[in-house]
């Protein structure tokens, strides 16, 4: 699935996550900032990767600013950003 334009989802409120996505030629680049990086850094990266894979995203740059969101919230924010980046929403 192609990301066609820059898009974002979520907020930087506590317990939420803010996700930005934009097209990137030939690479998948994931950057994560988190207030709970020590405690959940690996889990957050795995969840983001998982949602990108599920949606077949291969050429994109993704930035996640996590403010202590539950995993279901992170997944929902990433998915929404992907859909917006495809122009579907």
């Amino acid at each position: 699935m192609e990301i066609l334009k820059s898009a974002s989802a979520g907020t930087i409120e506590s317990s939420d996550a803010y996700v930005e996505i934009e097209p990137k030629e030939g690479a998948l680049d994931i950057q994560i900032e988190s207030v709970v990086k020590e405690q959940f850094g690996e889990e957050i990266k795995a969840a983001v990767k998982d949602v990108l894979d599920e949606n077949g995203v291969k050429n994109a740059s993704v930035r996640v600013v996590d403010r202590g969101a539950l995993e279901c919230v992170i997944r929902a924010r990433v998915e929404t950003a992907i859909l917006r980046g495809k122009g579907e929403e």
């Binding site: 506590s14 317990s15 207030v35 709970v36 020590e38 405690q39 959940f40 850094g41 690996e42 889990e43 403010r67 202590g68 969101a69 539950l70 995993e71």
Partner: protein
């Protein structure tokens, strides 16, 4: 006799302050305080070094202290609480000597016992006369009670009162009397009123907080302690205040006449006094304008010293007569040990204050906290810092269940009989981790940045530096 001196510098000079001595401060002006910075800047200008600062609490407005530490003016810090911004600096390991954290009761105890002698106490006073009879109740910088300053005034070798409101002699209704005071200095302002007291403290509107607060009030109702003569302390946090509101409703509905409210007093406790829930308020510190106005005008609202409040070295203290206290936590472990010193990443962001004192003294000490904050579960296997030992905590109230310390079987039975959702603390931990995931433990630093001295005056834990960034 003339105690009035022209400047802070002159007072410091006359006090005989020298390298290696101890100076002290109280924190009733909270984040609005100007006095600590004014005095320490002057001390630094005079070239005095290697001092111990014994302050009942430190706030982010005291950030210039970091410079005095780096320049060697201050080499030891003793306090009961450090706010988050300043705490972050200390957690980086800027001091060679560890900070000594005490409780609000332990600090005056160690001062009175001579374990932490004070050479010069600086007392910020919103009103004083020329001989040093002083009060926090009057003036543009009014803060209400001066409870934490009494031990300093009574035991320091020299006492300097700093005021922005010099009144004619004698000040009536003084808190600290002239017999303890050596020098009086007037300045333009001792603090910024906006930082001294919050305008109003508000109860939470967060539905999770309200459920917790309602549960807290039900626990108190079912505990068997809520009857005529009941005494109570709560913090100024949104959920604690909401619990007080629900408790007030129950007391009024049942016609229960309590004896006293204790603490850190807020406008909500004043409302409870005026509604007849209590006959007295015992006040070591005012948190808002409502409390300041009340302590000035209502004789039932009584100022108390920190010794009278909570000292383990006093012949008795009010905490020993306290029925119920509602307290907060950044973490609590399955042994009911509570952390209020460090945040989830290990940075200093608080301190015991009266937490450990009231937990030790009260018949029922309750922690009220959400199951998790920003994905981090409140219940852990072992807290990063033991601020208050589990033996002094009776019950944890969350939105997902009420965990009773196994040592308090009677309370557990009472709560079950009342139909409350009592859960094992291990089960509560697992239930929470099913929602959040299981967090990895923080790496521990390699340097002790603070020692935590408990209500019993013994060291009960150490805080380590936070690496990285």
């Amino acid at each position: 006799m003339n105690k009035l001196v022209n400047s802070i510098r002159e007072a410091i000079s006359l006090s005989g302050l020298k390298d290696g001595m101890t100076v002290s401060f109280h924190h009733h002006l909270r984040n609005g305080d100007y006095v600590l910075n004014m005095v320490m800047d002057e001390i630094a200008n005079m070239g005095i070094k290697d001092l111990t600062v014994n302050a009942s609490s430190l706030f982010d407005t005291h950030m210039p202290l970091v410079g005095h530490i780096k320049n060697g003016v201050v080499t030891t810090v003793m306090t009961d609480y450090i706010a988050a911004g300043l705490g972050r600096e200390f957690s980086r390991g800027i001091m060679k000597n560890p900070i000594q954290f005490r409780t609000h009761g332990g600090r005056p105890a160690d001062i009175a016992l001579g374990k932490t002698p004070i050479d010069v106490a600086f007392i910020a006073a919103p009103a004083s006369d020329s001989m040093g009879n002083c009060s926090g109740k009057y003036g543009k910088s009014a803060c209400g009670s001066l409870g934490y300053a009494y031990a300093d005034a009574m035991h320091a070798k020299k006492v300097v009162v700093i005021t922005d409101n010099l009144v004619s002699y004698p000040l009536e209704d003084w808190s600290i009397s002239e017999d303890y005071v050596d020098f009086v200095v007037t300045v333009d302002a001792v603090g910024d009123p906006k930082g001294i007291v919050s305008g109003t403290t508000k109860i939470t509107r967060d539905p999770v907080g309200l459920v917790m607060a309602q549960n807290a009030a039900k626990v108190i109702e079912a505990s068997g302690l809520l009857k005529d003569g009941f005494s109570f302390q709560t913090g100024a946090g949104g959920a604690s205040l909401a619990a007080a509101k629900f408790l007030k409703d129950i007391m009024l509905r049942k016609g229960i006449q309590g004896s006293f409210g204790l603490g850190g007093i807020t406008g909500y406790m004043v409302d409870m006094l005026r509604s007849g829930c209590f006959q007295k308020l015992m006040d070591v510190q005012c948190f808002d304008l409502g409390a300041v106005e009340s302590i000035r005008t209502d004789s039932r609202h009584q100022e108390i010293s920190a010794m009278h409040y909570a000292s383990p070295a006093a012949k008795s203290a009010v905490v020993d007569s306290l029925d119920v206290v509602i307290l907060g936590a950044t973490e609590i472990d399955t042994d009911f040990n509570v952390n209020v010193h460090t945040d989830s990443n290990g940075y200093i962001m608080g301190g015991s204050g009266g937490h450990s004192d009231t937990a030790a003294g009260s018949k029922l000490s309750m922690i009220i906290a959400p199951m998790f904050r920003a994905r981090l579960p409140i219940v852990t296997d072992r807290v990063n810092c033991i601020s208050t030992p589990g033996k002094d905590i009776d019950v944890l109230v969350t939105q997902g269940g009420i965990a009773v310390n196994p040592k308090n079987i009677e309370l557990k039975n009472n709560l079950i009989a009342a139909g409350l959702n009592v859960v094992d603390i291990h089960d509560l931990k697992e239930k929470t981790e099913r929602i959040t995931g299981k967090p990895h433990r923080l790496p521990k630093g390699d340097k002790i940045v603070a020692e935590v001295i408990g209500h019993d005056l013994s060291i009960q834990d150490y805080i380590y530096n936070v690496k990285g960034e």
